[in-house]
Symmetry: C2
């Protein structure tokens, strides 16, 4: 319970201020605990980022799985996943913000990559399995490579989310949704 | 001359270590100058990042324009642009690394966004104009929206570059090239 609260606070602070602006004392203040107690969970500084990302991703996966498992149609399932990943203000935008902080750090600190790559592969595989199911069920085109289209869609999602988070005038949440759905339509359905 | 050397050094250090690990003294050491002289170009800490990105982008645009202006075919022009933007080890990867550092900072510091968005719009417009030209010349499908496809391609490029920079096992430079070219093929040509 305490651990979850500490990780929530860490993720929220990283999302709002950026990883390098977060101090252990700030996290302790939010959860009303001593810095020593917070240090217990984060032996090194980069553990704050690593565990906060892990926490944010686990939370997002749980939320998505709960929603997706009741949707039979692969097409509806993919559209729902896209919708749930849109960086709307609130929890989802905070989770994206933690990802962006993590990318910047993983690009220059190779020791952070293994865990990141594992999370990332899990997301890409989720998309790939939905596409394969849609192909089996006759909802998606069978003349396309599910691995390739999953890579294209996940890369497009990340790139579009960055534009939303950096306030790009051409790309708000609504436009991002249209851009991704148009891709699904032309790559998998049309 | 001195200014260019200072900006080169700043961009290189940001690319290698990450923005928050770069000290004015490190830049001064590389260019063999006093910290005071370097401070003259960077009144505030975030100016290091802002000007380094500006420098890296200006350099990349100049390189790309010089190559692209001699290519008549829009299709060849787009493929050349994609090729020149692949994050191969060296100058281009360093430029991407500066972008990733900038995104992480712009996501949490709104004051950095205006300049970023200007650069970004310029890139998207370059892609859009190539697509429009290809449509006029009969090289690209005319039943697609150039603005939409330019958004999809630039977002996909950013997302794929992040995976390359964070060492994603499934996506090296060669795979990134294939992913993007397959998109161009299916969205604009097939």
């Amino acid at each position: 319970m305490r651990k979850a609260a500490i990780l929530d606070a860490a993720a929220q602070l990283i999302a709002e201020r950026g990883y390098h602006a977060v101090r252990i004392a700030d996290i302790a203040k939010i959860v009303g605990s001593s810095t020593g107690a917070v240090h217990y969970y984060f032996p090194g500084k980069s553990d704050v980022l690593r565990l906060a990302l892990n926490h944010a991703i686990t939370r997002a996966f749980a939320r998505q799985s709960a929603e997706l498992k009741n949707i039979r149609s692969a097409r509806e399932r993919l559209l729902k996943l896209i919708d749930m990943q849109l960086p709307r203000i609130g929890q989802v935008r905070d989770e994206w913000s933690v990802w962006v902080q993590f990318w910047a750090e993983a690009a220059v600190r190779p020791e952070l990559r293994a865990e990141h790559n594992e999370f990332y592969a899990r997301w890409r595989e989720t998309v790939e399995r939905i596409i394969e199911r849609g192909q089996r069920d006759g909802e998606f085109r069978t003349d396309i490579d599910p691995t390739l289209v999953a890579m294209q869609l996940t890369a497009m999602t990340d790139g579009a989310a960055i534009q939303v988070l950096t306030g790009s005038p051409g790309l708000n949440v609504t436009a991002m949704r249209e851009v991704l759905i148009a891709f699904v339509q032309s790559a998998l359905i049309a």
